[in-house]
C-alpha cells in the first residue's frame, strides 16, 4: 500500500507539473501508453476520446484530465466487474484448463494456483498434459511435490487427451475439489496443435458436463501486439474464460491486456509476480493502472532532464 501511494503521488505531481494540454502533452501520453504495450489501436482511440473530453468539458489543466484517463483505463479493465476470482463448480469437481503459447508461465502458474487452493483447505489434483516438451512432466512433478499435490501423468510423448481422460477419472474417484490441467505451449497459428487443444477441451467436457469451468490463457507481460492474436485464436479453439498475466515483477507493463479486454472482453484473473509459489495475486485494475503511470512519470521526467 505504501508503494501504491507513492506512485499515485508521482502521477498527481506529473499531471500538475505540466502546465497545459497541448499537442506535446498528447504526444507524450501516446508514447507512454504505447511504451507500455497498450494496443496501438486502443491507444489511438483513447487519445481521441481524451481530446473530445477536453473540448467538451473545456478542460485546460492536465490535472483535470488525469482522473478521466485513469477512469477510462479502469473501466476498460474492469468490464462488468463480476468476473474476478475462479468460477467454482458449486456441485462437484472444478476443472481448470491452462493454455497459451510457449514459455509464458503456464506450468509455474499452475503450481502457484495449486498452492493457493491448498491453503484454502481444498484438495487438488494436477494433470500433466504437456507430454511434448523435454522435462515438462518432471517440472510439473517438482511443483506437485513443492505444494503437496499429486500429479496424474503418462509417459512423455503420449496423447495429451488420454492424460486428461485419466486425470478426470482419477479426480472423480478421489472426489477432489479442483483438477488443474497443464498443456504444452503452442503458437496460435499452428493449426494441428490448436486442434489438439480443442480435442483436449472436448474430452474434459464429455467426462464432466460444464467443465472446464475455467480455461485460462496465460500471457507474458513482455509480449507485444501479438497477444491480441493469441487471445483471439485461443479463444476460438478452447473457449478461453480468463487471462493470467505473468512476469509482472519485471519492468514490462503488460498493457496489451487493455486492448484484449477492450476488444474481446476477457477478464484478467491473476497476475504472476515471480517464480515462487506465493508469487500469484488476484488482478487489481487500480493497481495495474497505477503501475502503467509509474512508467509515465519516469519517462517524462527523463524527457525533461534531457
Amino acid at each position: 500500500a505504501k508503494t501504491r501511494s507513492v506512485l499515485t503521488d508521482r502521477v498527481a505531481e506529473l499531471f500538475t507539473r505540466r502546465q497545459k494540454i497541448d499537442e506535446a502533452f498528447f504526444e507524450e501520453l501516446e508514447e507512454i501508453l504505447i511504451g507500455a504495450d497498450v494496443g496501438v489501436n486502443t491507444v489511438m482511440e483513447l487519445i481521441d476520446d481524451l481530446r473530445t473530453e477536453v473540448k467538451k468539458r473545456k478542460i485546460d489543466q492536465p490535472s483535470e484530465l488525469q482522473p478521466i484517463l485513469s477512469e477510462k483505463l479502469m473501466d476498460m479493465l474492469r468490464g462488468t466487474g463480476e468476473e474476478t476470482g475462479i468460477r467454482m463448480n458449486p456441485d462437484g469437481i472444478t476443472v481448470i484448463l491452462f493454455v497459451g503459447v510457449n514459455g509464458v508461465g503456464k506450468t509455474t502458474t499452475i503450481g502457484k494456483l495449486a498452492w493457493r487452493f491448498k491453503q484454502q483447505g481444498k484438495s487438488v489434483l494436477l494433470a500433466a498434459g504437456d507430454t511434448f516438451r523435454a522435462g515438462a512432466i518432471e517440472q510439473l512433478e517438482v511443483w506437485g511435490q513443492r505444494v503437496g499435490v499429486d500429479v496424474i501423468k503418462q509417459e512423455a510423448g503420449s496423447d495429451p487427451a488420454a492424460v486428461m481422460y485419466d486425470a478426470v477419472q482419477e479426480a472423480k474417484r478421489r472426489n477432489v475439489d479442483v483438477l488443474i490441467c497443464d498443456t504444452a505451449g503452442r503458437l496460435q497459428n499452428k493449426v494441428n496443435l490448436m486442434e489438439e487443444l480443442a480435442k483436449i477441451h472436448r474430452v474434459i467436457q464429455r467426462e464432466i458436463p460444464g467443465a472446464p469451468h475455467e480455461t485460462l490463457l496465460v500471457l507474458d507481460a513482455a509480449t507485444g501486439q501479438n497477444a491480441l492474436q493469441q487471445a483471439k485464436l485461443f479463444g476460438e479453439k478452447s473457449g478461453v474464460t480468463g487471462l493470467v498475466l505473468t512476469k509482472l515483477d519485471g519492468t514490462a507493463k503488460g498493457g496489451i491486456v487493455i486492448a484484449i479486454r477492450h476488444e474481446m472482453s476477457l477478464p484478467v484473473k491473476f497476475v504472476g509476480l515471480g517464480e515462487k509459489m506465493d508469487d500469484l495475486q488476484e488482478f487489481d485494475a487500480e493497481q495495474f493502472v497505477h503501475a502503467l503511470f509509474a512508467g509515465l512519470a519516469g519517462a517524462i521526467e527523463e524527457n525533461e532532464e534531457n
Binding site: 503458437l187 507485444g224 519485471g250
Partner: protein, 307 residues
C-alpha cells in the same frame, strides 16, 4: 484491422493524391505517419521508431519521392532498404576460438527459449563434426537440468551437471575444464532465465561470464516481445557485452519488431532464427525477410501492379 501492411497503408495515403499532380512535403509527412504506425504495430520500440522515421524522412525528402509517379513504391523502397541495413548483413556463424574449446554463454529472460536453443546449437555443431558439451547452468527452474539432459540424449551430446546444489559459476568453470580434459571443442552453457532488473541474478551471470571468458555471449529474445525488448537488450548488453542475438519463436505470426529494437540497442548481429520446438528448427537470420515481415509486406507485388 490491426495488422494492416505498410503497402496498403501507403496506398491509402498516396491513392488519395492520385491525379492531383505533384506531392508536397505534407504528403511525405503523412506517409511517415503511416510508416510509424506500421512499425509500432509490429512492436518496434517507440524510441527506435522515432530515430528511424527521422532518418527515413530525410532520405525521402531528399530523393525523388516528391516528383515520383509511384511515391508509395519509392517510400517503401527507402524504408525497406533502411530496415534491412539496420538489421545487419547475414551472419549465422558461431564464434570459433583458435584455442578450443570455444565457449558460448546463453542469456535472456525467463522462457525466451535458451535451453531449447542450446540443444539446437549443439545439434548443428555436431552435424558439422564438432564435439560440443552442454553445461546445465540453470539450478533454479524445476527440472531445467532434466530438460537439457533429455535434449542432449536426443542428439547424443554429453551434458555436464553438478546437480542443483552447486553454484552456476562453479558448474560453468568445471564444465569448461571437462571439455578441455576430454578434447571437446565447444562448450554451450545454459543459464537460468532472469529479469534484467534482478540484481543478484545479473551479478551471477556476470560472474559466470568472468569465470569462463566466453567467446560468444548470445542474448536469446522471444520474437513476440513488445516494447520491453529495448530495456532487456540494454541491460544485458551493459552487463555482459553481448556478441550476438538469437530470435526465437519466429514460426509464429508475430511481426517481430523486437528484432529491430534489439539490433538498434546492442549493435550485435542477429545470428540465428529459432523457428520451432524441434531440435533441427534453427535457421540463418535474413535481414531482408525480417524487414518485409516487420512491415507486413507480403503484398508488395500487388502494389507494383496497382501503382
Amino acid at each position: 484491422m490491426a495488422f494492416e501492411g505498410l503497402t496498403s497503408r501507403l496506398q491509402n495515403v498516396f491513392g488519395k493524391l492520385r491525379g492531383r499532380g505533384k506531392l508536397t512535403e505534407d504528403d511525405v509527412n503523412e506517409a511517415m505517419r503511416e510508416v510509424r504506425l506500421a512499425l509500432l504495430e509490429a512492436d518496434v520500440n517507440f524510441k527506435v521508431v522515432k530515430d528511424f522515421i527521422a532518418k527515413v524522412k530525410e532520405k525521402a525528402v531528399g530523393q525523388e519521392v516528391l516528383k515520383s509517379f509511384t511515391p508509395a513504391m519509392v517510400v517503401i523502397d527507402i524504408v525497406n532498404k533502411e530496415l534491412t541495413e539496420l538489421m545487419g548483413g547475414t551472419q549465422s556463424k558461431l564464434a570459433k576460438s583458435n584455442k578450443p574449446p570455444t565457449v558460448v554463454l546463453m542469456a535472456g529472460l525467463q522462457g525466451a527459449g535458451k535451453t531449447t536453443l542450446t540443444g539446437k546449437l549443439a545439434n548443428l555443431l555436431k552435424s558439422q563434426n564438432h564435439k560440443p558439451l552442454l553445461v546445465a547452468g540453470d539450478i533454479y527452474r524445476p527440472a531445467a537440468i532434466k530438460q537439457l539432459e533429455v535434449l542432449g540424449g536426443q542428439i547424443g551430446v554429453p551434458v555436464f551437471t553438478l546437480g542443483d546444489q552447486v553454484s552456476p559459476v562453479e558448474i560453468a568453470k568445471q564444465g569448461v575444464q571437462k571439455a578441455k580434459d576430454e578434447g571437446l571443442d565447444y562448450v554451450l552453457i545454459d543459464t537460468a532465465g532472469r529479469l534484467q532488473i534482478d540484481e543478484a541474478l545479473m551479478e551471477e551471470i556476470k560472474n559466470i561470464h568472468d569465470a569462463v571468458d566466453p567467446d560468444e555471449v548470445l542474448l536469446v529474445v522471444d520474437a513476440m516481445t513488445g516494447q520491453e525488448a529495448v530495456n532487456v537488450a540494454q541491460s544485458f548488453h551493459e552487463k555482459l557485452e553481448l556478441t550476438g542475438v538469437v530470435l526465437t519463436k519466429l514460426d509464429g505470426d508475430t511481426r517481430g519488431g523486437a528484432a529491430l529494437s534489439v539490433k538498434a540497442v546492442t549493435g550485435c548481429p542477429i545470428k540465428f532464427a529459432s523457428t520451432g520446438e524441434k531440435i533441427d528448427q534453427l535457421e540463418a537470420f535474413h535481414p531482408d525477410r525480417m524487414a518485409s515481415r516487420i512491415l507486413g509486406m507480403g503484398d508488395m507485388l500487388s502494389l507494383i501492379e496497382k501503382a
